[in-house]
Each structure stands twice: as structure tokens, then as C-alpha cells.
């Protein structure tokens, strides 16, 4: 090369360079990839255009504004069968969020408890937890959902035992504390009823919760700043309860509990946790809890033994070692897999369709799809909803993850 004094070959572009020259090769490959992609999609589009049925039905979301015509049992926002498919869809989406949120919370609790206990020195407990984890990890969640749904229908006391017999005698079973009833048609619990000024009580209570956090921060500052230990539990309880109770009585008890009362067939009033919700919630939490337990265990094992030994040398009790030294460090290892478990829960809520919980898959992907026959539109919208949920959860959790991540400087 050096011996020759060729001028740089500006004009010498040959076809071969498209393959052999690294400068151009990437363009060639991308071009080929693009062509393949376009060909693939146009093949799909061509096939779709050949289908008369699809063509004559067209692609339109107008059906969303037609009356849905069916009823939904769990209505977070008011709904009647005369409302639109769109409103039914939104109710489904809210129901999905409700069960996903509940399941995420309880799965985390189950998972942390089981993960910690699995490392316990207590042989029986750790073996029991291993059995739990292996049982639930190795059997499909769909089977668990169906089994728990069946259990709920067959082992909870039948609601007929709570009904008032027609001869005027007492029913076989009554409400627990006059408030709760676990029946095979669901668990009936009291409901808070807010009168006119009730919102003030609620606002006071929320403000008190903020106050408790404020007190805790204050105690921490005192402890670290001046080395004074400020009592936390007593004042916290006082801040939490006293203002709310005072406001409650000053305003003339505007908030009351509405207890379920037996009607002709079932309890009227109160709040009903439906068996479908219970089955889905419980099955998802206990199934995902088993996975989270493994993540927690791995996270704890990843913290070197020196940490807990050092904490023990400082005289911390085992419970405090776990909560003050090991878990905060393990959290950094646990959170990334925990995010994907939360995503899994959200996606697995779509199995609600197996137990008739009216989530997004039950309304939009279920009855709306069945009734309108608009399969393509419904399923696209369904995927879009789930995609939004997933992306939102990963965004939120990533923010949290970044906040607890070890800051390397």
C-alpha cells in the first residue's frame, strides 16, 4: 500500500463494496432487513385484503359508543347495561388495576415472609417454606386460580345458612361481630358511608397520616443530629387518632359504618368481596409470592455474612439485624426482579377470564368481543391497554430502583 502512490479512489465505487466494505455493508444489511420487513408486512396485509369478511366489516371503533347491553358485577364507577362499551371497557381496566395492585401488595408480603423464613434456623419452618415455594412455582398459575375458585365455592359456608328461614326461626349462622360474613357468594364487609361533612373527617385522617411521617422524620433528625431518642410509637398513634376522633365528634359523627343486612337472597348493603376477586387476588399473590420468596432469599444470601456478624457484634437483636442491616442492602438486589414479578402479576390478571372476574379481558376481550364480533379492534385495544400498564409500572418502579440504587461516585 505504502509503496504505491495511488490517489484515494474517490470515484471507484464498485458493487462489491456493498458486501465487502465495512463502510457500506451496514447500509446493505439494513436495506435488506427493511425490504424483508416491508415484504413480510405487505404479505400479511395482502392476505387480510383477500378476506371478504374482514373487508366488508371494515375497521372501526364506532362500536365502542354503542350501548353495551350487559351488566357488570364489580363497578368501581357507576354503570348500567345501557352505558356504552367504552364505559364497560374503562370499568374493566379499573378492575384490572384493582386486582393487580392488591395482588402486588400481598405477594410482596407473602414473598418477603416466606423468603426470610426459608432461611430460618428452624428446621420445620424452613422446610415448610421450601415446600410452599416449590409447590407453587412448579404448578401453572391457571390451575391455582381455578382450584382456589373451586375451594372458595365449596368450602366457605353456603349463603343459604345465613338466610332467614321462612318459619321465622333464627338463621343457622349470623354475622361475625354483626359486620362480617364469609359466604360462598363472597365475603361481606361493612362499608364506610360519608354524610355531608364526612369528607372533612377523611381529610383530617389523611393529614394525620402525613403528620405521622413528619413526626418520624423529626425523630430521626433528633436521633442522628442530637443523639436524643424521641419516642415514636405513642406520639404517632396520638397524631393518627386524636384529631380524627375530635373532628368526628365535633361534626356530629358524619361517617358511619353500613353493615351488611340479610335480604331475600343475600346481604344487602355493605361491601362485597366477590369470590372471583378473592380467587384471583389470592392465587396471584400466593403464586407470585413463591417467586418473590426466591428473589428475597437470593438477595439476602447475596449480602455477605460479615454484615450480619458485624451487626451482631454491635449488639443488635436478630430481628433488627434483618430489618436494619440485611434487608436494606438486600433490597438493591431484590428490586429489579421484583419489578418483573409485578409486571407478571399485571399480565397474569388477564387469567381473570377463567373465573369470570370482570377485568379488561372479561369486558373488552370477553363479552364486548363476543357481542360485537369486532375481534381485530377489540384485541388491538386490549393489547394497547396492557402495554400501557406494563410500561407505566416499569417506569414507576425504575424511578424507585434508581432512588435506592447504590450511588457510585
Amino acid at each position: 500500500m505504502t509503496t504505491m502512490t495511488d490517489p484515494p479512489q474517490v470515484e471507484g465505487f464498485r458493487i462489491g463494496q456493498l458486501i465487502n466494505d465495512t463502510r457500506y455493508r451496514s447500509y446493505t444489511f439494513q436495506f435488506i432487513a427493511l425490504v424483508c420487513l416491508i415484504l413480510g408486512f405487505s404479505w400479511l396485509a395482502y392476505n387480510a385484503s383477500q378476506n371478504d369478511q374482514l373487508q366488508s366489516n371494515g375497521f372501526s371503533y364506532e362500536f365502542l359508543y354503542n350501548p353495551a347491553g350487559y351488566d357488570i358485577n364489580q363497578q368501581p364507577i357507576p354503570y348500567t347495561s345501557q352505558d356504552t362499551h367504552l364505559r364497560a371497557t374503562i370499568i374493566g381496566a379499573i378492575n384490572t388495576i384493582i386486582v393487580a395492585f392488591l395482588a402486588c401488595v400481598t405477594a410482596t408480603i407473602f414473598g418477603v415472609i416466606a423468603g426470610v423464613l426459608r432461611l430460618s434456623n428452624n428446621w420445620i419452618i424452613s422446610k415448610l417454606m421450601s415446600v410452599y415455594v416449590e409447590m407453587f412455582r412448579n404448578i401453572p398459575v391457571l390451575i391455582w386460580i381455578i382450584i382456589i375458585f373451586t375451594v372458595a365455592a365449596n368450602t366457605f359456608p353456603p349463603i343459604s345458612e345465613f338466610r332467614l328461614p321462612r318459619d321465622g326461626s333464627d338463621p343457622e349462622r349470623g354475622l361475625l361481630f354483626g359486620m362480617f360474613a364469609a359466604t360462598n357468594q363472597g365475603v361481606f364487609v361493612p362499608r364506610l358511608v360519608f354524610a355531608d361533612l364526612g369528607w372533612i373527617v377523611a381529610a383530617t385522617f389523611l393529614a394525620s397520616i402525613a403528620g405521622v411521617f413528619g413526626w418520624k422524620a423529626h425523630a430521626k433528625r433528633k436521633l442522628y443530629g442530637e443523639g436524643k431518642e424521641v419516642p415514636v410509637l405513642g406520639p404517632s398513634l396520638a397524631i393518627l387518632l386524636v384529631p380524627t376522633i375530635v373532628v368526628y365528634f365535633i361534626l356530629g359523627m358524619p361517617v358511619s359504618l353500613e353493615n351488611p343486612e340479610m335480604g331475600r337472597f343475600r346481604f344487602e348493603g355493605g361491601f362485597l368481596l366477590r369470590p372471583s376477586l378473592i380467587a384471583l387476588w389470592f392465587a396471584l399473590s400466593i403464586y407470585t409470592g413463591a417467586f418473590i420468596a426466591e428473589n428475597v432469599r437470593a438477595g439476602i444470601l447475596a449480602i455477605s455474612k460479615g454484615q450480619s456478624e458485624a451487626a451482631a457484634a454491635l449488639g443488635l437483636r436478630p430481628g433488627r439485624i434483618m430489618s436494619l442491616v440485611v434487608l436494606p442492602q438486600a433490597l438493591r438486589v431484590i428490586i429489579p426482579p421484583l419489578i418483573s414479578q409485578y409486571l407478571n402479576i399485571t399480565k397474569n390478571t388477564s387469567l381473570a377470564i377463567a373465573v369470570g372476574y370482570m377485568d379488561l379481558t372479561g369486558t373488552l376481550g370477553g363479552i364486548t368481543l363476543n357481542q360485537t364480533g369486532r375481534a381485530l379492534e377489540c384485541i388491538l385495544l386490549l393489547m394497547l391497554f396492557y402495554l400501557t400498564f406494563s410500561l407505566a409500572i416499569s417506569a414507576i418502579m425504575n424511578v424507585y430502583n434508581n432512588s435506592v440504587k447504590l450511588k457510585e461516585r
Binding site: Q53, L54, N57, D71, N184, F265
Partner: protein, 345 residues
């Protein structure tokens, strides 16, 4: 390692690819497709006793299944040349629209929007049904109007949810709907007392009640809250194929009216009698078969395969079976029912 993974993957990928490559496409009318394929793809339910259900040997049996077999016998001369495709409420229409099945014989209600908006052709009615309610006898309910506040199990995927919502709304009552995907699970919930009422088509109610440990413990309420004309359907736009299915069904109905049975059809076809309509039906007179592109003895084959409409009814869901349905609306028009076939002429 790398190489072996690669090799295995390519090998496996190609198995799928060849499966596709070998499945040659063909176009044309449904009739030509079916004849070329040598079997009829017929959509049925995933299991409703008496109407369509695989027996313990895996052979599909039932009232709807008989329609499929009759069409297969008429078109292909072989009632066993049917591939039964189980469909759910969600999948049945797309299965038909996309050409996966040639006809759908699955407790499907003939409604305006399905016939027009969804672009299907209902070829007739093989069972006149109506939505009913089943309650435990000890609930002390004698009419559906007493059900205010009850918990109702619904088998989803049909018009059931809509009829139910309308019925309760019109009567100013509230209820707690419990939607369930499959009939078996709905029954399980009902028997466990997780719902007070079970609602679906009355035929299915009767069929499922027959399988209860204590059938008398449940009563079917007198109200019929909807009209449910159930019938086979085909794709819009292939009228030739629609005619074949329609007239096969009519042939079964006419056969009952004229007294042609599974037992005597061969005899009647071999020795034409003096009833011209029977002769036209069985292909010994006229050329009705050729008019719809089939053999002259297509109707004879269909009847010989499954029997006439009355026989199909009696063997699958009639009063002598465990299902125990009376003919009711589904009696011949001569007996006060609605089953009526246009003449074979």
C-alpha cells in the same frame, strides 16, 4: 455447544416450515373445497350434553353433531368424514369467517345483527329454544319475577348476558351477575350454592339438570325470557353452499313429515313408491340433487346416516334420553310445533 444449539434449532424450525409448505392452498367454492379435502370441517361447542359432546371414546355425539354428519353424508357420502372443531363463544364467528370451518352447528341464536352486520347466513332453525332460569327447589321461588337481588350464574358468550340484563331492567329488579366461561363450571358454581340462579337456554338447563345427583332438587322456572332460534350458519356470499346445508336440514325435517326413517329409507329408495315427494326427496324421481351440485341420492345418504329430524331429536335429547326434552315448539307443524320444511319440488 453453539453449533449443536444452532443445528437443533434449524432442524426444528424446518419441521414447522415443511408442515406449512406441504399444506397446499386451494381456492374456489366451499363445496369444491370440502370435496377436494374429503372431509367437512364443522364447528361445534366445546361440550353441551345432548347437543354436542365427545363420548368416552372421543366420538362426537349430539343433536348439532347430527346436522354436521348429515351434511357430510349428503356431500361426501360418508357421515364420518367430519372434522369437528370445538369453538367457544368468542372463537366461533372468526373460525367461520376465516374459513377454518365450513359450517357452524353450535347452539347459535339467529339474530338480526349476526345475520347482517357479522355477514353470516343462517340456513334455518334446528331447535327453537328460549332462555330460562333454574333455581334450587328449596329456595322457594316459583317465578323469575321474584328474583330481585339474587345472584345469577351466566354462561357467557351467547346472547344470554344481554337478555338477562334486559329482563331484570324491564322488571325493575337488581341482580348480581356471575359470568362463567364454560357450562361445566357454571353448573359447579350453581351446585355449590355460589349462585342462586343459573340461566342459559332452557334446553341446556334441562340437559345439565339431568346430570345432577339430585335432579329434583332444582326447578326450571316457567318464564322464557327470550326467543332463541338456534340453527346452523355458513359464510355470507357462498349461496350454493348455504343451499346445501339449508336443504340437508330441510331433508331431515321433510323425512319425518313423510314418514321416511333411518330404517326404511334404503327400502324406499330401492323400490320407489307412489308418493312423488318422497321419490323426489330420495332422488328416484327428478333431479333435485343435480340442482345443488350433489349426487341424486344425497338426501337418502343424509337420512340413512342420522335418521330423520324426529329420530335425531329422540336419540339425542328426546324424552327417552337422560336429557328428557319434550318436543314442544320443536314438533312438526302438523303436531302444533314450528318445525316446517318448504316442499321438495
Amino acid at each position: 455447544m453453539n453449533k449443536s444449539v444452532f443445528l437443533g434449532a434449524v432442524a426444528a424450525a424446518s419441521v414447522g416450515a415443511t408442515g406449512i409448505a406441504f399444506a397446499d392452498g386451494h381456492s374456489g367454492s366451499t363445496l369444491a373445497t370440502v370435496q377436494e379435502r374429503g372431509s367437512l370441517n364443522c364447528g361445534v361447542t366445546t361440550g353441551v350434553p345432548g347437543f354436542a359432546e365427545p363420548d368416552s371414546d372421543g366420538v362426537w355425539q349430539g343433536f348439532d353433531v347430527a346436522v354436521c354428519r348429515a351434511v357430510a353424508a349428503g356431500v361426501l357420502g360418508d357421515p364420518t368424514a367430519v372434522t369437528f372443531v370445538p369453538t367457544t363463544g368468542k372463537t366461533r364467528f372468526t373460525a367461520l369467517a376465516s374459513g377454518e370451518i365450513d359450517m357452524l352447528a353450535r347452539n347459535t341464536t339467529w339474530t338480526f345483527s349476526r345475520d347482517t352486520d357479522l355477514k353470516f347466513d343462517f340456513v334455518g332453525v334446528n331447535y327453537y329454544d328460549g332462555q330460562g332460569f333454574m333455581v334450587p327447589a328449596d329456595l322457594g321461588v316459583s317465578s323469575a319475577t321474584e328474583l330481585d337481588g339474587a345472584t345469577v350464574c351466566i354462561q357467557t358468550g351467547t346472547t344470554t348476558e344481554l337478555n338477562l340484563a334486559d329482563f331484570f331492567r324491564v322488571n325493575g329488579m337488581s341482580y348480581e351477575p356471575v359470568p362463567i366461561e364454560t357450562g361445566a363450571e357454571a353448573v359447579q358454581q350453581y351446585l355449590a350454592g355460589a349462585c342462586d340462579v343459573y340461566t342459559t337456554d332452557r334446553s341446556a338447563l334441562a340437559a345439565q339438570r339431568a346430570g345432577f345427583e339430585d335432579p329434583d332438587g332444582s326447578v326450571i322456572l316457567p318464564e322464557v325470557v327470550s326467543k332463541e332460534p338456534l340453527g346452523p350458519l355458513v359464510r355470507h356470499g357462498d349461496s350454493e353452499w348455504g343451499d346445501i346445508v339449508r336443504w340437508t336440514l330441510n331433508a331431515l325435517i321433510t323425512a319425518e313429515e313423510l314418514g321416511v326413517t333411518k330404517g326404511n329409507v334404503e327400502e324406499m329408495a330401492a323400490a320407489p313408491g307412489d308418493n312423488p315427494e318422497i321419490n323426489r326427496l330420495l332422488g328416484t324421481e327428478g333431479e333435485l340433487g343435480a340442482m345443488i351440485g350433489l349426487e341424486a341420492d344425497w338426501a337418502k345418504n343424509a337420512i340413512a346416516a342420522v335418521g330423520n329430524y324426529g329420530e335425531v331429536f329422540d336419540t339425542n335429547i328426546g324424552e327417552s334420553t337422560a336429557i328428557g326434552l319434550a318436543r314442544g315448539l320443536n314438533a312438526q307443524y302438523t303436531d302444533g310445533g314450528l318445525i316446517y320444511s318448504p316442499p321438495f319440488r
